[in-house]
Amino acid sequence: MTTAIEAHGVAKSYGSLVAVENLTFTVEPGEVLGVLGPNGAGKTTAIRVLTTILSPTHGSFSVAGIPHTRPAAIRRAVGVLPESAGYPERQTGEEYLRFHARLFGHSRPSARSVARTLLEDVGLAERATSLIASYSRGMRQRLGIARALVNDPRVVFLDEPTLGLDPAGQRQILGNVRGIASERGAAVLLCSHLLAEVEENCSRVLILNRGHVAAAGTVAEIVRQAAAPRTARLQVAAEHMEHAVAVLTGASGVDDVHRPDGRAGWLKVVFSRAEEGDGQLNLAVRVLLDAGVELRAFELEGARLSDAFLAMTEAD
């Protein structure tokens, strides 16, 4: 099967200002790739380059197997929800989708049928004939996703699709995103500021910082790559505190054990970086339980995408 997106050293500069540099990655069909980065990291520019709105300064890429030298062919194969896209207020949702379907080559009857099917898919069938001016932000985002699907794309780019939505709206949009990948088999490139959203919905993650790829891989790989601290907090019964410290100090993979100030009954355990965070916590818990220590609570720190993201984007 053709790789959905293949980018090699893609760069985009505006004079001396480098927006994106040496962007290299691949996305497979049916995969959801999360693109993370702080404001100004180059996420939107990267999407605009890959969707042929902007031409790259250096490098090459292909989308759905189509080289970047054929921009019109790429646009036929992709669907895009741009960040903060505007909508014609005086058109109805159905008119808007019909128009875009016709721009992608659908005949009138076919465009009507596609528009109705997509409105149903994104839960807007009942508001199909309402003016877009009366749509809420969440409805507009769902309409935007429907518009991105009028050409049955092989690759879908979504730039901040849940921006400004309430939790229910976010959940609805993310359901649509998962459906695009699982039911349509399209590759999805999802740009977001919301780390939990990316962590839950993306098979792989690309972290951009100041136009560069700071990290790429699965969430677990990125967490491992990051220089994020790997520590755990364990709550044990007060009478077992000394015993717990002694047991953990001698355990394999534990660098340090101490009692954090202000949290009675808690121990802070610092693990050796050479080993997996999750596995180390399991080992520490097992050692304590085997030693007869009453364990009341535990939490692992530094093993989430948010920790890795902050470590990678703040270090620069």
Binding site: Y14, I53, Y87, L103, P109, D152, P153
Partner: protein, 273 residues
Amino acid sequence: MTELVETRDRARGERSAPGWLVVLGQELRDLWLGGRGLVLSFAFSLLVGIIAYLVATNTDLNFLEQRESTSLTLQVAVAIGGMLTLLVAADAVSGERERGTLETLLLTPVSRRELATGKLLASLSLWFAAFIITVPYVWFLGNGVGIVDEALVAGLAVGTLVAVFLASLGLLVSCFAGSNRVSLSLSLFVLLALVAPTQLPAGAQQAWAGDLLLRVNPLTAGERYVSKIVVSGHDWSEDLSWLLSPVIGAVVFALAAILVGGRYIRLRGGVSG
């Protein structure tokens, strides 16, 4: 994907329209069903009605010859009708850019030239509406002296050339302008500059420099041609030299708007996100 869609539609006997035609259809719907075209046309009909009433009254008082009053009404219609197309075209790209709707258009396989063509043709619809509104006034003013047919043909020909020229100019400005406000202001300024030579004293207009200025300006040259036919009663082929700049202006600016302006239908460079 589009090839698949087109193949499927062909198999059903359904044909997809060219991109410029789809854009034209949508622009016409937005302009006329959205209400903007109707409001502008209503304002135009009020203005032409007032002008026609004033010149008709003056004709009754023998201040204006009937042919002159017909010509004046027609010239006002050409100038204002052209201005309406200019205003709509000046909003065509910069307006979409400001409303955030341009990016989704650029993401379709429709070429930028097709976008420019569709938008240009849609803006011209305002001129044709303005002309239709003008017909009864020209008939009323010119009926007595038997110049209605000549006046309407000359008005339609010159008005169409002027409208193409002005709409193309507006579209070009809109493609390059950083904001909609700049596009509209600059377009109106250019229109005023084009109208300015008509305010020169008669002596200055007859001098070689004044005559050249009137001839190279598509708006003034076109209006002079209308005047030659309607007021002076010349045959349409007698003063074709006055049609030279409207024809050249319309062709050159339309090509520039579609070929050059089309290339500049793009988002302004940004690096956010």
